[in-house]
Symmetry: D3
Subunit: 214 residues, 6 copies
Amino acid sequence: MEMMPTIFFFFLQLLFFSSSNAAVQDFCVGDLTGPEGPAGYSCKKPAIVTVDDFVFSGLGKAGNTSNIIRAAVTPAFSAQFPGLNGLGLSIARLDLAVEGVIPLHTHPGGSELLVVVQGTICAGFISSSANTVYFKTLKKGDIMVFPQGLLHFQINGGGIPAIGFVSFSSPSPGLQITAFALFANNLPSELVEKTTFLDDAQVKKLKAVLGGTG
Amino acid sequence: MEMMPTIFFFFLQLLFFSSSNAAVQDFCVGDLTGPEGPAGYSCKKPAIVTVDDFVFSGLGKAGNTSNIIRAAVTPAFSAQFPGLNGLGLSIARLDLAVEGVIPLHTHPGGSELLVVVQGTICAGFISSSANTVYFKTLKKGDIMVFPQGLLHFQINGGGIPAIGFVSFSSPSPGLQITAFALFANNLPSELVEKTTFLDDAQVKKLKAVLGGTG
Amino acid sequence: MEMMPTIFFFFLQLLFFSSSNAAVQDFCVGDLTGPEGPAGYSCKKPAIVTVDDFVFSGLGKAGNTSNIIRAAVTPAFSAQFPGLNGLGLSIARLDLAVEGVIPLHTHPGGSELLVVVQGTICAGFISSSANTVYFKTLKKGDIMVFPQGLLHFQINGGGIPAIGFVSFSSPSPGLQITAFALFANNLPSELVEKTTFLDDAQVKKLKAVLGGTG
Amino acid sequence: MEMMPTIFFFFLQLLFFSSSNAAVQDFCVGDLTGPEGPAGYSCKKPAIVTVDDFVFSGLGKAGNTSNIIRAAVTPAFSAQFPGLNGLGLSIARLDLAVEGVIPLHTHPGGSELLVVVQGTICAGFISSSANTVYFKTLKKGDIMVFPQGLLHFQINGGGIPAIGFVSFSSPSPGLQITAFALFANNLPSELVEKTTFLDDAQVKKLKAVLGGTG
Amino acid sequence: MEMMPTIFFFFLQLLFFSSSNAAVQDFCVGDLTGPEGPAGYSCKKPAIVTVDDFVFSGLGKAGNTSNIIRAAVTPAFSAQFPGLNGLGLSIARLDLAVEGVIPLHTHPGGSELLVVVQGTICAGFISSSANTVYFKTLKKGDIMVFPQGLLHFQINGGGIPAIGFVSFSSPSPGLQITAFALFANNLPSELVEKTTFLDDAQVKKLKAVLGGTG
Amino acid sequence: MEMMPTIFFFFLQLLFFSSSNAAVQDFCVGDLTGPEGPAGYSCKKPAIVTVDDFVFSGLGKAGNTSNIIRAAVTPAFSAQFPGLNGLGLSIARLDLAVEGVIPLHTHPGGSELLVVVQGTICAGFISSSANTVYFKTLKKGDIMVFPQGLLHFQINGGGIPAIGFVSFSSPSPGLQITAFALFANNLPSELVEKTTFLDDAQVKKLKAVLGGTG
């Protein structure tokens, strides 16, 4: 049997040739310096990919909740964790101090699945068209799904800091916080008012708070 | 050559057998009475499908704009036009009277492409995360695309009624109007305020206008 | 509250970092000079994208119908309107002078949805395998769907010029006009005849008209 | 270690429960009697699925080539071989007697990959828009790909019967033979002529041959 | 302004009509009693959907690790948590007692993303064709991605019980444990040996342990 | 009619302009030197694409079966046949000498469809979770489907060499042979044993045979 390795070597070569330039079949670690396309980033050459491309440690420490919402979102999307590029999922860490709130927002590119790992979180979403509200207070270990593109929120529901992990059905789901979209940019107040029915005073007040202009 | 038709008949039979129970290959006209799945409605039996399943006349007349927004959206989504089921696109008609506004909204399930066919429309959208605003006044014949899931709006930009058609990259893109999602349902005012930074008086005022409670 | 903006600035930074290299999450305006892939063109850098990348004015004027078919198709596919790249839809304008005809054709890459905005159009498609014909005369405001890849046509059905807009479920649906595929290239006449049952005289005549050779 | 099987039994139960109603994860053998949806047929209950649902013997014998085209297409699409339902591919057998021809046709729903297993086949396709012709004579063992939705043909290129297998990127790719779509149905001759530039005599002659009317 | 609510009511009706039979646009809670298709389960009628359809509490308690692998996988796939149906993601809880092991396995239907929430886990996967091994010891808060369909494993890497949550890019990713696929069924030992190079004694021994026959 | 060609020329120009930079609509022949993305390779410029990009002759001759498994797999995936890039399917040739075996393996990226063209092949797959075995001996002309990601095998079932062609629902389905993944790399024996229940002696013996270390 001492010739088997060499015989196998021949057979392995066939396969290796196949794999050597077809690594997209297995994974496509994002090369943030290369061209992007609608499906994501270009792939790093398989030869230089290591296990560290598939591991991310950025979610190990709490996000900074010393801010007005007493909360933080720490994303591990393909832009932060290129190993997810092309693989159809991503994750983020939620830290909610007591009274912490993740404001009403949407993810244009994916559905979200929340798992509570510390404390309690009151979470909900609103259906489109019918505007039905679905919300509930979740305890440690509970999970809740938020269908793609629908407005949803998370609020600390208890007296201790809450922590959750949210998975997404896209490596780059996006995050659009309604209050920031309305008040943290240069969208003219008149347009905000016309398209939301909000009063001018309310709009101007929140633009001042959130750094918007116009 | 008089035997050819029968010979062809044999050949056609082969093909007809193939097509007779595989109509999904061509189209899947929605049967609104059958079970729905994630991909859409069940298919009507091909034998009872007629050209009228592929034609819809509901967009021929103006929607009623005698309302507070002086505007109307008339959808031809798969729920109204089942011939679109499974085909990956849909359409709606926009009517904007003078001063008319389509309030800020998203389509969770698809991108939108607007073509202006009468008057002028000021339209815009807001990118996620960066909150960049992209808006412009469009004249007759101009088109503008609104990427999937992003907040956008349309306003009559001139002195005459404006009409547009908006196509979508889904037969059932959904429509979530932010003001309705916030104020036209039973989402408790306290939650609205916590998740949007709006004042209590503003929230209560708009709930009264839009028929919300709580 | 004067410290809030800076506090928010910290929070916004988190999000901005996320968005700064993940713009594919929102849109991917096509860079026609960059490499293409199966999913479309490379993305322009978000920093240089403006509202004009999402607006196209090429459909505002009638196409030239002074030709044998008395009709014109003016496409706004991703090659003409790169803002559509990756967004799953596109549009074209149809101009049909009196007696105008869009010859029998297919779109290999997408389904089509026609809306008539002026005049009347007789439109139809043919199912695969069963070869069933579905056609109808459409008036202003009517819409008709043509399932992906099936042969279809549009003919001016009235005494005045007709105009329509056709949306597609792909940013690059393609357009294969059967008569051009058969007679406007160098496909040898013998092959055309063998594969279509057409007579040699007919094939040669149409090759002469449409500029074909062989 | 004698207690291990029972301990494993507990563990297996967890998994079995998971699998017992989630069989869609592995396969979805089509139930031709159940409702169809845009994604295909309903699934047979996994409990009654056997290996014979995944095996099809219909391609073992030659199709009948005693017809005007001296050729036959024997499909194993999901309508004939329901085990393919939902799995994204299918296959058909081509038999081409000497002088046999598969007429110009498209598959609206998938790309095609031909492998020649006997004889030689001259095959080609025509690109959309540019109308470029790509054709070549293939010998035993050669493969050729025909991109989705494009017109293509196969002709026996030698002096002996040819056999090929064609795979598709869809379980139900469809088959639209141009000559049948034009001449084997009730599409009025006047419409055929207007939309193809063919002469009335040619159209009437082929309608007679192929069993068309009108 | 007292007439506005009724005017809005009219406008809301338009939208409500749209949503009333098009709920698939937002979500499709699985009806485990209805027909399944390739895209998942049938949808529960929106009228009977409640927030509890979107919340699952089964991951709150540890799985039973009193078994030979000292580990448990508790899935929340669409079969256990029908609210995930059609939404493109799912999750499971991993419990690894000291010395606990999740044996080598694949998920045929999706990629996996692990987040460690207690203890340390040594995890790895093997690329296809090149057979490259990527493995690392992960501490609390670390995440690692396992590309779709590739063999991977998780082992408790420390002296205390470890807990993780694994998200998937499919609501029904499947789970194929190699040792069970080889030794826990009736696949004849001769076939196992021929297709794995394992010795007869080894195969028979493990079939005995894992309850296999043949 | 002598002016028609020039008139048509104008009309063709419109279309040609459309096609000239939108060739992705038809095909995207892989440029193995360009950047790869999650959807595949970059596209060769259409201007330099010829029919030879769509034809591959590498499957015409038998693979070398003078090896321990008495079998060979010759792939025509997008890495070997770039014309398949982006088209959703691929193919490989199986050669099984007498007693030949394709060892237990999976394709992480696609479903497989086998057609037997010479001899007889005993083929089977194992379902996930339930670990059900589906296997059968196939004769010339029989086809069998292997759902995506599931373990399967093929064995020569007769006294003469067997040949088959296997199609895949992906241009780059991957190939992970279980025995190679376990024993032909540097995965430490201790990890192999812990994650497969195999004995140390068995693991070390096969690592020696297949060239593994550790």
